[in-house]
Subunit: 275 residues, 4 copies
Amino acid sequence: METLSPSILTRTIRQRPAESHKGTYGRVTLVGGNANFGGAIIMASAAAVYSGAGLVTTVTDPSNQSSLHARLPEAMFADLGNLHQLRDLVSTADVVVVGPGLGTDESSLMALNATFSAIHAEQTVVIDGSAITLIASHHLTLPAARLVMTPHQMEWQRLSGLAIADQTVTNNQAAVADLKATVVVKSHRTQIYTPNGVYENPLGTPAQATGGMGDTLAGMVGGFLAQFANPTDAVLAAVYSHSAIAEELAATQYVVLPHQIITEIPHFMKTHEAN
Amino acid sequence: METLSPSILTRTIRQRPAESHKGTYGRVTLVGGNANFGGAIIMASAAAVYSGAGLVTTVTDPSNQSSLHARLPEAMFADLGNLHQLRDLVSTADVVVVGPGLGTDESSLMALNATFSAIHAEQTVVIDGSAITLIASHHLTLPAARLVMTPHQMEWQRLSGLAIADQTVTNNQAAVADLKATVVVKSHRTQIYTPNGVYENPLGTPAQATGGMGDTLAGMVGGFLAQFANPTDAVLAAVYSHSAIAEELAATQYVVLPHQIITEIPHFMKTHEAN
Amino acid sequence: METLSPSILTRTIRQRPAESHKGTYGRVTLVGGNANFGGAIIMASAAAVYSGAGLVTTVTDPSNQSSLHARLPEAMFADLGNLHQLRDLVSTADVVVVGPGLGTDESSLMALNATFSAIHAEQTVVIDGSAITLIASHHLTLPAARLVMTPHQMEWQRLSGLAIADQTVTNNQAAVADLKATVVVKSHRTQIYTPNGVYENPLGTPAQATGGMGDTLAGMVGGFLAQFANPTDAVLAAVYSHSAIAEELAATQYVVLPHQIITEIPHFMKTHEAN
Amino acid sequence: METLSPSILTRTIRQRPAESHKGTYGRVTLVGGNANFGGAIIMASAAAVYSGAGLVTTVTDPSNQSSLHARLPEAMFADLGNLHQLRDLVSTADVVVVGPGLGTDESSLMALNATFSAIHAEQTVVIDGSAITLIASHHLTLPAARLVMTPHQMEWQRLSGLAIADQTVTNNQAAVADLKATVVVKSHRTQIYTPNGVYENPLGTPAQATGGMGDTLAGMVGGFLAQFANPTDAVLAAVYSHSAIAEELAATQYVVLPHQIITEIPHFMKTHEAN
């Protein structure tokens, strides 16, 4: 298991080419946010936008439209209940992030199934939060695409069948191999299981232990994957950046809120951009 | 009567353990905010989030969903009119804050009764604002749980039957003993009646004399109770912090607004964290 | 005609007494904001809150509830179409501000008439914007109360019958005498006609020439009247402060937006508070 | 082809005359923002307000009313589906901006046709985004007025019939002559085709390659046209300012978001104001 260091940032966050346009930096579609958990998909969407994704569309419950635009006019909105439109927006994306605030009821399941049905092999899918729970409880077949999953330890238990005490590196590697996915197992020292090996994030602060942190990370992972060529490095750099920003803010804050991390992303990335 | 000093902060605001997660810092459910007073529950909820509560859910009128998420994506939303869901969210919380902006009509009473019916003995309940008025006017039985009440002097009159002129320490102690609650009697020099004695807050500025201050305090009290082991100290530290932040801001502001206090909480707590 | 100077500030903005509460600083009810002009009443309400009014309630079209709370959780909301509730909120206020964004159609007129019908002699009423137009076009009888009107020159023409070219001090004084009101005639050098004489505001910058400035002033006038003992001085200090803040901001901005002035009010007032 | 320099700023952004009012700085009506793309018209409207337009009205889908006012209380709102009101607001404007987030379905087309039908010769119309696509796909006749079009290269292909590879200056000039419009062809080095010649913008950063940049530019162009006497210079100065602000922000940000550019406009314009 390799410990991440700042080199993952300079290896990944490259200076943007002068001749480029928003299409160069990827189209990200985020699916989530039912009538109770709208904040989750708003934070995930904002994290994708502030990470530099070229075009971001948020497919969410209509009751979240106003708050989404009030916080983030840069994102486009679509109605989670319009499954035809959802499939269109999923199939035309470069990266799909599904799960933040999606919920686990019948309509959540329908949206998740519609999302998976529209995925094709060239795409990258970040699967987070409620989507992981739904996959585990309904034994859903994962789509054939590049997959990144971001469970916390309890979600990973549901998905892998491994009790938290049994989540050793060896056991996790075996479970990950079955999933054919990159898996980010979130804890106070997050581990990332990738096709290129296992990594541990040395950063992270208890000031981050607050609702919405995972949603924010999922959006950052989506935003980094949309822009950077090496997908494993993109995931690693997003995980590392998320914690590094939190640590910086925690120097002067007892608790660090997700939206504060989001605001700092463009500055942090600039500081660690490769020359 | 003991006068509070900064020692209450360092005694209470402990450095967070490295190995912890959002569950460590408590689940807070806030109940309030009818169609007229949505701002009150938004401010209370924000105060709980910025104080460091692990997970915050706001049960409020649906007309407040958009503004809640626009200001505070970190909080989850539930519909105040769905009493079944309300009881679920109350019974699974560590701390319940009920009252800010709840109103005093028939549906407010139904929501308060549903809240009380779902409380169990291991929980802490912060009772504020309209909830205090409803208890007094409908002679409601308080739930069997750890209770913290945060009346201003007029609400305390309604609840205790003591006219403001008669609210002496001795009289208040007798009334508090009947309630089996910690009572924060808010005035320009707030007094806190606890099982461990009576305390006076030496801080507070007339710049704070504006709508929403009490809602903000209720949310801070809830947020502190969710995190800190000693409940009396948690209440005292929240009261002291609220006024201390206000005094700092009042050095350069003629009036201090509740949302400005909220924004400062993480910084203030870091400054006064025990090493 | 006397030219205002900073002495109006120190004469008016007094250090707050330590023993005071939000009731000490007045209850302000603002009536305005139809489905098209919601921003106007939001800005007026925010100006009242940031000026230090103790309790602020905004009676506006329901379509403005979410944006009001998203920007200003400190204000309470009421539905402009519920005339019974409107009259209650008007009759229990210390200061009523009516007109910003109210519009001039039949329902606007009904709301204005309901407002006027609930006013009693001890109250202060600030009449702005659409309300002035409605009074002029429907020949409404003004309520018997302390009145402050804040027309721009075109609205003053409608109300007084004086063409802009004829709005001399002498002519204006005669028209004002008929109205039994303090009248703020807004222009690049605003004049204030009071029972104690006529004043000119020497401040003001063309950077302020943008929509919403008048709404902001109306809210400040309401907020100052709610707090300060001398009503003429309160109006003069509000007018002067509004322009002084704008001039400060215009040092570094080509245009100054109303919400930027609002944010600065508490700082400006502190700087000019009497010791 | 002339390369723009800072001289376009000092030639255009003139010190405002002391005796002026909001009418002096123009009335701008923006038409756009369907139920999916509300953020686009919010950003365009904000750009117009922060550029200094005197009065701004946003005609958009009603689902965008709350978020518009939550972000921008300075703008007035009107319902895109009320074509009678839309025509009124268009015909009384000095400058009309049509297209940001308008969409391309039947109701979008109806709104665009209603807009064009209400335009008269003395007005300036900025045509952006979806409006350009609709014109191309439905072969709409352009209104007889001063026209400014702001296509990106793909939209310009649709409108001119010139494939991106064929968009040479000579070919573009011919196509522009047919349109009788000033055309801003957006790319990483934007070209502006005007009655006075062809200009190239030497500024622009890949940090700007994110959704909403074009909407923001359209709003700035509208805001500058509303205020400055020479329309060609107004367009050139808006294009130059937009990129110059982005470059400044990109010194410390990996990606620059549209709303961050908007916030800087008043400061940037003050810095480059002619004395």
